[in-house]
Subunit: 130 residues, 2 copies
């Protein structure tokens, strides 16, 4: 059994701080469970273009409000506690939090923690054997 | 892109109500993302023996407090918002919420929604082809 707290992750290498968001990676590829789990806060008033060409991501909102736009269709969905959005088709999307928005994110395949967003906002595919 | 809310799931077949807990299955095997996601409330004062012989489960607590005991070792871990526990070794465990405790649960392989706990508290392994 693995037990971890966000407090343990704060200010470690698994605590990624960007101007628009902060993501604490709680479970990573090295944990060997087939997915990764991150707790991510997106800051109020930011505009975030994301695209995961190599990963499926599910995002569950548990605090705060905002909206997500599917950039292929222009469709906008409201986000509030209890909403999930899933990039099951590697959808290019824009997330616009109205307030600070706290989410739990699940990635398949699991993120290793060594990915960085490239110029297209894409996480490259890295496996634990790389 | 899939977008769902807990409100849409309330009182459907994906809203499982038990005396000790209530689980809303937001993402299931049929969604084809390789994991399932449930929002589960465990009720204050209950004692819950769980064992997933066929699944790995990660549980992120976002509201409420309690504790989880690893039944193999007797070790007890405190649970509060921001704690995750992971049954990565199919660990038999007992969950004891002190208050109503809200969690996001991720299962691999994904739950189909047709599983029921058998007499050992086990979810059988069911795939979408069964």
């Amino acid at each position: 059994m693995i037990v971890r707290t966000l407090d343990e992750i704060t200010d470690t290498d698994a605590d990624i701080k960007e101007p628009n968001w902060r993501s604490k990676r709680i479970l990573l590829a090295k944990d060997g469970v087939g997915f990764s789990v991150h707790e991510t806060t997106l800051y109020a008033g930011t505009v975030n273009d994301f695209w995961y060409a190599n990963h499926i991501e599910a995002v569950f909102v548990f605090e705060g409000e905002g909206e997500v736009e599917n950039k292929a269709t222009g469709e906008v969905h409201q986000l509030r506690p209890g909403t999930i959005y899933v990039l099951n088709d590697h959808d290019k999307h824009q997330v616009r939090p109205k307030t600070d928005m706290k989410t739990v994110c699940v990635f398949n395949p699991p993120v290793t923690g060594r990915e960085v967003h490239d110029e297209n906002g894409v996480y490259p595919l890295i496996t634990e054997n790389d």
